[in-house]
């Protein structure tokens, strides 16, 4: 959707104004909103305009085909949050929401995070196998580099470490401990 004011930039600020009981909807780009004084960025501690409003705007753009998101049928089985509620306030209801709304969330995540998979810290309690896999792939990269540099002694050491770690992996994929 393009900004109503300039018709050039995409509208990222969406709001409804009620004057004398008359409701009007506005769709503006950030710059025009600022020019019109609708986007108060001088804040103090006023939460008026937050990241969550912005996210809702991004969601609108990420969802050109509405047939997938037919309102209330699409709910998280754990916490009961509907996708409509999420797109309104930009907050998910629980960890399971990520699985429940995966297909709709993917385009949004690409937008705000880039296409990526978590490669950082892993909790010890749940991530036993995943931790090992991460460690193995890290050592494998080091092994390749060692071979390139023709440091064969170091490479042999790394190979043995990788073997030892592989033995600790559970037999079946995703089998946990």
């Amino acid at each position: 959707m393009l900004c109503e004011e300039c018709q050039k930039r995409p509208a990222t600020v969406h709001y409804t104004k009620v004057v004398n009981n008359k409701k009007t909807e506005y769709h503006l780009c950030e710059q025009c909103a600022r020019d019109k004084g609708e986007l108060d960025l001088s804040f103090g501690f006023d939460p008026g305009f937050s990241i969550h409003n912005l996210l809702a705007g991004l969601l609108d753009m990420a969802q050109p085909q509405p047939e997938k998101v037919t309102s209330s049928s699409n709910k998280c089985p754990n916490c009961g949050l509907s996708y409509a509620q999420f797109s309104q306030n930009g907050r998910l209801g629980c960890g399971d929401c990520y699985a429940a709304f995966k297909s709709q969330l993917e385009p949004l995540l690409r937008r705000i995070q880039g296409t990526s998979v978590h490669s950082g810290k892993v909790p010890e309690r749940q991530g036993g196998a995943l931790r090992l896999e991460r460690q193995i792939s890290k050592l494998s990269r080091e092994l390749e580099q060692a071979v390139e540099r023709e440091e064969y002694e170091q490479a042999a050491k790394l190979r043995d470490q990788i073997r030892a770690l592989r033995r600790r992996l559970p037999k079946s994929e995703g089998g946990g401990e």
């Binding site: 804040f43 930009g90 209801g93 960890g95 995070q113 810290k121 909790p123």
Partner: protein, 354 residues
């Protein structure tokens, strides 16, 4: 019962402590967002469940803190402390404005003795683990935050997904849940009018610039908070290396700008700094905006050895002391804006005269 000194004293580690590069970098902060598996996120959490969760985490941490080397953690529910005290905690950077505003039954915070660690409960996420250090020391800050995280994790089941990482209420924190921010003082870049270009460049390498009190606050006193934008994909170490590398360059650029100013017109710079010092040590009415602006000059003056007497500690104390919440708390009375300006001027005079 909240201990009184927390709301009146200025003993936070970031205020009194020493750190590297304090001529430009005021503080380094790490924040981790964590949630408990299968519980709804705070905004959908019922009061009853929220209370149970608080008990569990409070017990865990008061017991567990003996294992870490960070000493005792004090626990406060937001509902049990006045709005003025909450404001003071915001001004000391121990809690976020969002938590201070929160009406949530489970909204609470745990704060370590040296005020370097604060763990917010039921802000946007169940847990927000934060460490705040003086100067430029992201690595040390990360080590401490991660060790608190490890202790919590050894007893709690976190919401975690192998692809998405740590699951958070807002997708902008997904993955590592890590927000690292560094507060820098950039008067040189502002005066030499390079700041616009520098800030634009920073935002193009995946970093965000904010004001003194984080999300949604403006940059006063030439103080900027620079933090990572992306939380999913790169590892914690990569995020910190990226931010650290940019900050190092920023520090060099700021120092170069200061030297350039000193070289091109030393007298004008010295005059400006000494005038600001003069006003601060003599004014009878000081608004917080004016005070922040003048204190920025004095901070620069200290870094350039023009007003050497004003130590880092005094400058950091003043940064908090002149804020409305802290002033009213110290004076123990509600003040109108005019009396506040009068009190502020008196406080600043007193502090600067030692």
């Amino acid at each position: 019962m909240p201990k009184e000194s927390l709301f009146r004293s200025l003993n936070s580690r970031w205020i009194v402590g020493e750190g590297p590069d304090t001529d430009v970098v005021v503080t380094s902060r790490i924040r981790l967002a964590r949630n408990l598996r299968s519980y709804p996120f705070p905004h959908l959490l019922s009061e009853k469940v929220a209370r149970e969760m608080l008990k569990q985490i409070e017990n865990l941490l008061t017991l567990g803190s003996s294992k870490g080397d960070w000493g005792r953690l004090d626990f406060f529910r937001m509902a049990d402390i006045s709005s003025l005290d909450r404001l003071v905690l915001v001004e000391k950077h121990l809690i976020s404005p969002d938590l201070a505003r929160s009406q949530h039954a489970g909204a609470a915070v745990l704060i370590s003795d040296d005020e370097a660690i604060s763990i917010m409960l039921n802000e946007e996420d169940h847990l927000r683990i934060q460490c705040l250090f003086p100067g430029f020391q992201l690595e040390e800050c990360w080590k401490l935050t991660s060790s608190v995280d490890d202790l919590l994790e050894s007893n709690l089941e976190y919401a975690f997904d192998r692809d998405y990482g740590y699951l958070t209420a807002c997708p902008t924190n997904l993955g590592t849940g890590l927000r690292a921010s560094v507060m820098v003082h950039l008067p040189g870049l502002v005066m030499t009018q390079q700041i616009g270009g520098v800030l634009t460049a920073i935002s193009q390498v995946g970093l965000v610039v904010r004001g003194l009190y984080g999300e949604g606050s403006e940059a006063t006193g030439n103080l900027y908070q620079i933090s990572n934008q992306i939380t999913l994909g790169p590892s914690e170490e990569e995020i910190l290396q990226n931010l650290g590398a940019v900050i190092r360059q920023l520090v060099e650029k700021e120092r170069a700008a200061r030297q350039a100013l000193l070289k091109s017109n030393p007298l004008a710079l010295e005059d400006r700094i000494c005038r600001s010092y003069g006003i601060l040590t003599n004014a009878r009415l000081l608004s917080s905006q004016e005070a922040m602006r003048l204190l920025s000059d004095v901070r620069l003056g200290h870094a350039l050895n023009i007003v050497p007497k004003v130590t880092n500690r005094v400058q950091n104390e003043l940064l908090v002391l002149i804020q409305p919440g802290m002033m009213q708390r110290v004076a123990n009375e509600k003040m109108t804006e005019q009396t506040r300006d009068f009190r502020r001027a008196a406080l600043v005079r007193q502090k600067l005269s030692g």
